[in-house]
Amino acid sequence: MMKNDLGIYIHIPFCRKKCDYCDFASFCSDEEVQSRYIYDLVKESGQYRHLTDTAHITTLYFGGGTPSALPPFLLRKLLSTLPENYFQAEEITFEMNPESVTEEKLRILKRFGINRISLGVQSLNDRTLQLLGRVHSSEDVGRAVALIRAAGFDNLNLDLMYGIAEGHGVEESLCGLLELAPEHISTYPLELYDHLPLAKKVKLVDDEVSVDEFSLINEKLSERGYIRYEISNFSLPSYASRHNRAYWRRNDYLGLGVSAHSLLGSVRHSNLLTLEEYHRALSSGEKPVAERTPLRQKDESFETLMLGLRLTEGVDIKAYRERFGEFSEAQKKAIERFASQNLLEMEEDWLRLTPEGMNMMNPILVALMD
């Protein structure tokens, strides 16, 4: 029997300090709470044993928060108590922040089979890092990358932020980043919500500036042989993130931990948002699920476009038709219109956005929504 492909995401919601722009579930908790959380995580993984034992686990991803914020003994505990078969995944990513990268932690990660590190760099300008409320310096980044390489990791992602604020241009960070020669780069404009501390400190740059900065990033990276395989992601050939790509291809994934999301078959579910609620549910033997959303056919067909078009490869139209039937007349008309504007292209059964189209994805998706 063919086993179902499954990605697993594990959320570690702890940070040394919450960044001023962060809108994720993350907490500054003491080791006692962290320890209890790991115990809960393992409990939750047990609730999905029937699924994980019968699936083909392709990727495993530890995200945060800051997974590297865990002290070595808790890191060991986490990795040694999760089901062993999780670690048979082909790609195992662990998110780290420069300030908490140590030789010891890297040794532990290596020993448990982690083969990809994602480092939250954001900027290589100390003034900018300070503005963002990051706890590390640009020097920490160089040191962390050196340690990661020395520990034998050959698949490294660095996060880079642009569109930050006047006087905080991306160029310097971009050049510095290229010198560190990562296999993968994720790049995002700063997003600010009014309730976040940073929103009180800075005004976002004009989006003209943001667009120009992205063009610069795109240009420099492609000169160095990086491929833009998704709207915000670049990699050297064959180093695309398999775990993330599975989201965009709508493969099944199981998210464990506070606020984690899952797609299992035609149902999306998300977990409780606070450590207390999460713990309470697991203590009473319940699944810590906050919301369960069964997807209708039209949700799934739209998601296929919304996620698939993020990828440079685009959407496999043959597979789409087999699953959901023909495009509606309105959709066909919209596709035609966008094609004539050079925003969309159709090539041998693949529908994809052009680079210009990628900048205008939202209105295109809205028009394609049935």
Partner: protein, 604 residues
């Protein structure tokens, strides 16, 4: 049956400036004569229209027959007819006053005489009423009774030395008010044997009994079984009940000359018993109706649209229900490119408009979009036609317009002397024409200005209050229509004229208003893939311009496992928003943009 005696009847109103304590005094008078039980008091008086209580304004009249045994040992029938306390209802005030022989003039002992006090006194004086001044709020530490008495005597010319000094709030000296009324207000005259002649001074709608007029009998008698005729409406009805207000409705055997009460006659529509109507006997009608009847004309208009399209019919039902009680409210269906189907409603004034809007929202739970208020213009065409226009889209082409006339009001503004400069500046900025100024005393001045109604219907009250730290008071009356340099200003989006945005505006104000509109649109219309020029134009000439820059990027940068549901919802919301967008050529204009221009709000 005892002989009907007019000797022991007194009919009186209470007039006052807003906030000077008119309603409190009315409540106190009713309460102190035991017109209602305490429980009834609460229900009937205190809870009567929350809105009025909140705003401290009387809209519907409070009428009561009070029985009072005076110091002379005789029992008197005192008929209190409360007047609506606002300039919008001047005509109603004048009819209420016509039903009385005297008026209590309530003046706040610390505030002194205000613009409306004067206006109301003139009205009462014009009706030949005996004015009985009363100093209220005497319990406040800031009360300055001697000065205010001097003010009343100087400004109003009424002897006020022995005016009762009361506190309606605490009940202090309330009996003095009764004694003054008995002493000063003349007893009514009238012949109970003559044919019926009665004045309708208000009406209301009861879902069981129909429209019920409140009447003052000048001659004759009316009782159950009589046939009565409404002289202006030219309709006849059979009376099924007559009664008086305590202020609760209490049926009586008959109402006679000099008395005040109500009659029930299965009248379907309040428009049959408009304020000012004369009621006479159908069998022995009088020849001449009472003087002064006029149909209240709406002065201010605005469009009311449902925020949700489905509410269209509910708004109609609600407006019809309100109209049952309010003959001066008018409405007709209207369609707007921007807002869909709604109603163009006519009101007596700005307050009347606000009250109707609030009642629709509160009592009928409707979510409304109200367009900016407008006045009605008189347009003369080159062909010599005369048109009444309140919607700019109905304006004939410029080449066919000979002149446009707008309503002008005469206004009185009373203000402490330190703020005279501010008020003059304000009036000037609203195209006011200065008439004269008199000092009322050492501190305060009375200014007269002529102002276009159009300039005061937006936020004049608020502006006046803020420029005088709340001390300025204001009153106005419609004076005339006058030719004015008015133009139609159009708004073009991406070179296309958008009907719904056209407004009639004074030439001198056009540039500022045009600039304001294009700026608001610039904020309200989302950027699109092409740059969008926004223009304000009069005829062919552009007077203001803005450009919405082209959007170069619109994409969700991050979309991982935990973002998908949220981002999908975001896009669905955009899709929903798009449905509500209006397409003009290649430009999509959201509902919000229309609202930002049409909607009545304070940040003008």
């Amino acid at each position: 049956m005892s002989k009907h005696s007019l000797e022991n009847i007194r009919n009186f109103s209470i007039i006052a400036h807003i906030d000077h304590g008119k309603s409190t005094l009315a409540d106190r008078l009713i309460e102190s004569t035991g017109g209602l039980t305490e429980r009834e008091m609460k229900e009937q008086v205190l809870d009567n229209m929350d809105l009025e209580r909140e705003r401290g304004i009387t809209i519907k009249l409070q009428t009561a027959r009070l029985r009072y045994v005076a110091r002379d040992g005789k029992e008197y029938q005192l008929n209190l007819i409360d007047t609506p306390g606002h300039v919008d209802f001047t005509y109603e005030v004048s009819r209420s006053l016509a039903a009385c022989e005297g008026a209590l003039l309530v003046v706040d002992a610390s505030q002194g005489v205000e613009a409306q006090t004067i206006a109301n006194v003139y009205l009462a004086d014009g009706q030949g009423l005996e004015i009985v001044p009363v100093l209220n709020k005497i319990d406040l530490p800031s009360a300055r009774p001697e000065e205010v008495i001097a003010e009343i005597e100087e400004i109003i010319g009424v002897y006020a030395e022995d005016a009762p000094r009361i506190s309606a709030k605490t009940g202090q000296n309330i009996t003095e008010v009764f004694e003054e009324v008995i002493k000063k207000v003349p007893a009514p005259q009238g012949d109970p044997e003559a044919p019926l002649k009665a004045l309708v001074f208000d009406s209301f709608y009861d879902s069981y009994k129909g429209a019920i007029p409140m009447i003052r009998l000048f001659d004759g008698e009316v009782k159950k079984g009589d046939n009565v005729r409404m002289m202006a409406a030219k309709q006849e009805f059979e009376v099924t009940e007559v009664g008086v207000f305590t202020p609760a409705m209490r049926p009586v055997a008959s109402l006679k000359a000099g008395e005040v009460g109500y009659l029930v006659a299965s009248i379907k529509d309040v428009r049959s018993v408009r304020v000012g109507e004369t009621v006479t006997s159908a069998d022995h009608p009088v020849k001449e109706p009472l003087p002064g009847y006029k149909k209240a004309q709406p002065m201010v208009f605005c469009g009311l649209y449902p925020a949700e399209g489905e509410d269209y019919d509910n708004i109609r039902d609600a407006l019809e229900k309100l109209q049952l009680n309010d003959a001066s409210l008018t409405f007709e269906p209207e369609t707007s490119v921007a807002l869909g189907f709604g109603y163009r409603c006519g009101f007596l004034g700005l307050l009347h408009m606000e009250i109707i809007q609030e009642r629709l929202e509160r009592e009928f739970d409707l979510d409304l979009i109200a367009t900016a208020p407008s006045v009605i213009y008189k347009v003369f065409t080159t062909k010599g036609e005369e048109l009444w226009i309140q919607n700019p889209t109905n304006l004939p082409p410029v080449t066919e317009i000979s002149s446009i006339h707008e309503p002008i009001v005469k206004s009185s503004i009373i203000v402490p002397k330190d703020y005279i400069g501010n008020v003059m500046e304000l009036a000037q900025s609203r195209r006011g024409v200065f008439i004269d100024m008199n000092f009322l005393d050492e501190r305060r001045a009375l200014l007269h200005y002529e102002l276009p109604l159009n300039e005061i219907i937006y936020d004049f009250f608020d502006a006046l209050k803020s420029k005088t730290r709340g001390y300025g008071s204001f009153d106005y009356e419609l004076d005339r229509y006058e030719a004015s340099n008015l133009v139609k200003m159009d708004i073009l989006i991406n070179y296309e004229l958008i009907d719904a945005f056209s407004i009639i505006v004074h030439r001198d104000k056009a540039v500022a208003r045009g600039r304001q509109i294009v700026e608001r649109l610039k904020d309200a219309i989302p950027r699109q893939q092409i740059p969008i020029p926004l223009q304000a134009a009069i005829g062919g000439s552009i007077i203001a311009r803005e450009t919405i820059r082209a959007l170069r990027k619109d994409v969700l940068a991050k979309c991982y496992g935990g973002d998908i549901s949220r981002k999908k919802k975001l896009l669905e919301k955009q899709k929903e928003g798009k449905k509500r967008m209006r397409q003009f050529g290649s430009v999509e204009v959201p509902q919000q943009a229309f609202l930002s221009v049409l909607k009545f709000d304070d940040e003008k």
